[in-house]
């Protein structure tokens, strides 16, 4: 074993590394690690923001969570939203990536513009477009003979409407990663398969798709996490309605913390959400490596 003391030169190097790392580490400690610990602690407390009173309540918040029908509904709604948004968004992203690769370059730019448009602007503009009487979408549908739809005012159509606007906003992001994945496939794989007589459908099925698996896993994880964080469009457009049809987890956390003044309960729900997402991410990574 090497038990020599580090040289003066090495100590100088460690000192530089420490000084260069310190500002970022302090920032992370204050705004990530400490709040993460605090969230867990807060989950076992009853914390009133107005009076500042703070009391240990053990697992009370989690017991409440287990029997809160509204929390169950918000989780269910979030899962439904996830099922509507993520698979369709990723399939469309792959189709657009294939299209853009052979299509004009300006189309890529156009598809990316919504990703740099703010969530608030996308929400309010689509909110107006969905307006049953004066909205653009019903007048477009009218142009092809479809009767006016209620969209956000109907508890059946509200969540699909939110999912559609989120697909519109997010699909460019996924498309970029598919494009990056597509260009990293060596061209001679296609040439070899084509020499063996594969047609273009077989090329896609047996060359392109398997080699995009890493991209698909990455996108599945990031899109899933971001689907479970959905907040802004729902907060602005439907406020969880009609009749709770679009009440999702983060909206419920927000309401408990900042409207009902139940900080402890909000923290407990946050911990459940964080654990849920962590398990999904780790599981997807494991599953993709095992194969």
């Amino acid at each position: 074993m090497d038990i020599r003391k580090p040289s003066a030169h090495a100590i100088e190097r460690y000192r530089s590394a420490l000084l260069l790392s310190l500002p970022a580490l302090v920032g992370l400690a204050i705004f990530w690690y400490w709040p993460t610990i605090q969230a867990v602690v807060l989950g076992f407390q009853d914390y009133n923001l107005m009076s500042g009173s703070q009391a240990w309540t053990g697992f009370d918040n989690y017991r409440t969570a287990a029997t809160d029908p509204l929390l169950g509904l918000t989780f269910l709604n979030t899962v439904i939203y996830f099922l509507m948004e993520v698979p369709l968004q990723m399939a469309l992203a792959l189709a657009l990536a294939l299209l853009v690769r052979r299509g004009p370059a300006w189309l890529r730019t156009v598809i990316l513009v919504p990703t740099v448009t703010s969530m608030v602007v996308v929400s309010v503009i689509w909110g107006l477009m969905y307006h049953p009487n004066s909205g653009l979408i019903n007048s477009l549908l009218g142009g092809v003979g479809v009767p006016p739809q209620p969209f956000l005012t109907s508890s059946q159509q509200a969540m699909p409407s939110i999912a559609l606007l989120m697909i519109w906003k997010n699909v460019g992001f996924s498309m970029l990663f598919f494009l990056a994945g597509l260009v990293s496939i060596p061209r001679n794989y296609y040439e070899a398969a084509a020499t063996d007589g594969a047609n273009s459908r077989q090329l896609f099925r047996y060359v392109t798709l398997p080699l995009l698996r890493g991209t698909v896993v990455f996108l599945l994880i990031t899109n899933t996490v971001s689907a479970f964080k959905v907040f802004t469009p729902i907060f602005l457009i439907t406020e969880g309605g009609p009749i709770n049809a679009t009440r999702v987890v983060v909206l419920y956390i927000f309401e408990n913390a900042f409207r009902f003044n139940k900080m402890g309960y909000a923290a407990a729900i946050s911990v459940l959400l964080a654990l849920f997402l962590l398990i999904i991410s780790v599981y997807s990574l494991r599953a993709s490596r095992a194969r």
Binding site: R13, S16, L19, L20, S21, A24, G27, L28, F31, Y33, W34, P35, T36, Q38, L42, L99, R101, R102, G103, A105, L107, R108, V110, I111, L112, V113, P114, T115, V116, T117, S118, V120, V121, V124, I125, L128, S134, L136, N138, S139, G143, F173, L176, F177, V183, S200, T222, K229, F231, F235, L236, I253, F258, M263, A267, S270, L273, A274, L277, S281
Partner: protein
């Protein structure tokens, strides 16, 4: 500005540069016929909300609903364009203040994020020190904790620090960014060792190596990081909603959202507000697209 030697060549040129060979055959020929309508349809799907937004923001109040149904070119192009809506926003809704706030906060966020992020990224990529892997894993671990799940306790932290309802509250939690650190670290790693070794032989301290030798070498990555972070900061909504109350601290997304959630919703003002909040960023994006693509793909920023 578009000096070609300075481009972030990593991902962007690979995405854009190489096109697959055109295949020939009956399937490809039928696709050639279909392609144009598909391209136009896709483009229309992404563009039509912007056309409506831009046309309507220059429309007088009484014309807003007139041409929506049935749809025609008049739906998107105002016959008598006016600046009244913008005048109203700036004179009566204090939109100028919100724009300045958001711009200042975004610039400060970008500057600090890049400075402290590039320092630690340099240390992680180019200095061997004990515990380096642990530090890197600790940073990446923050990616696994979505902000929404700790926003309640970050809010309480801000409150305990006495920063509730201040400018500092709007940018401090965002200046340490694992995605940006990761992005910059990747680029520092690509720089050849000889550059650093030569500088150290010449007697440069590690900080001088970082500042004078390494930073200039990753300038394109810094532009990518800056733009991605700028967009992120400009978009902030949930956090400012929670942590500010003072109307003087209103950021642009809050200002736009309030037009929408007002008791008395005025469509023409929403369009104009959305226009102001969006168009400058889109123009910036058109110039910096390659940097944006590079930043997003390398860091996985979502």
């Amino acid at each position: 500005m578009n000096n070609d030697s300075n481009l972030p060549t990593l991902m962007y040129s690979r995405i854009v540069g190489r096109r697959p060979d055109r295949l020939t055959g009956p399937r490809q020929r039928s696709w050639a016929v279909l392609r144009l309508p598909v391209v136009i349809g896709a483009a229309f799907f992404f563009v039509f909300p912007y056309l409506w937004l831009m046309g309507s923001s220059f429309r007088p109040r009484e014309e807003i609903f007139r041409y929506v149904n049935p749809i025609s070119w008049r739906t998107f192009i105002p016959l008598a364009p006016t600046l009244d809506n913008f005048r109203h926003l700036f004179l009566e809704r204090n939109f100028g203040r919100a724009l300045v706030n958001s711009l200042l906060i975004a610039l400060v966020t970008v500057a600090i994020t890049l400075f402290i992020g590039s320092m630690i990224a340099f240390a992680l990529a180019r200095i061997k020190f004990p515990g380096r892997e642990v530090v890197f894993v600790l940073i990446l671990a923050t990616i696994l904790i979505p902000f929404e799940t700790i926003m309640v306790s970050v809010f309480l932290t801000i409150q305990r620090l006495g920063l509730f309802d201040t400018y500092a509250a709007l940018f401090l939690p965002w200046v340490t960014d694992a995605f940006i650190i990761f992005l910059l670290r990747q680029h520092f790693r690509d720089i050849p060792d000889e550059l650093q070794d030569a500088a150290i032989v010449d007697g440069c301290s590690l900080f001088r190596v970082y500042w004078n030798v390494m930073l200039p070498n990753i300038r394109p990555a810094l532009v990518s990081a800056a733009f991605v972070k700028f967009v992120f900061s400009w978009d902030a909504f949930l956090w400012p909603l929670i942590v500010t109350r003072d109307p003087d601290l209103t950021v642009v997304q809050l200002a736009i959202s309030r037009l929408f959630t007002d008791q008395n919703v005025l469509w023409e003002l929403i369009f104009a507000g959305a226009f102001i909040g969006t168009v400058p960023l889109i123009i910036l994006f058109l110039f910096l697209q390659r940097y944006y693509v590079e930043g997003v793909v390398t860091s996985g920023f979502n």
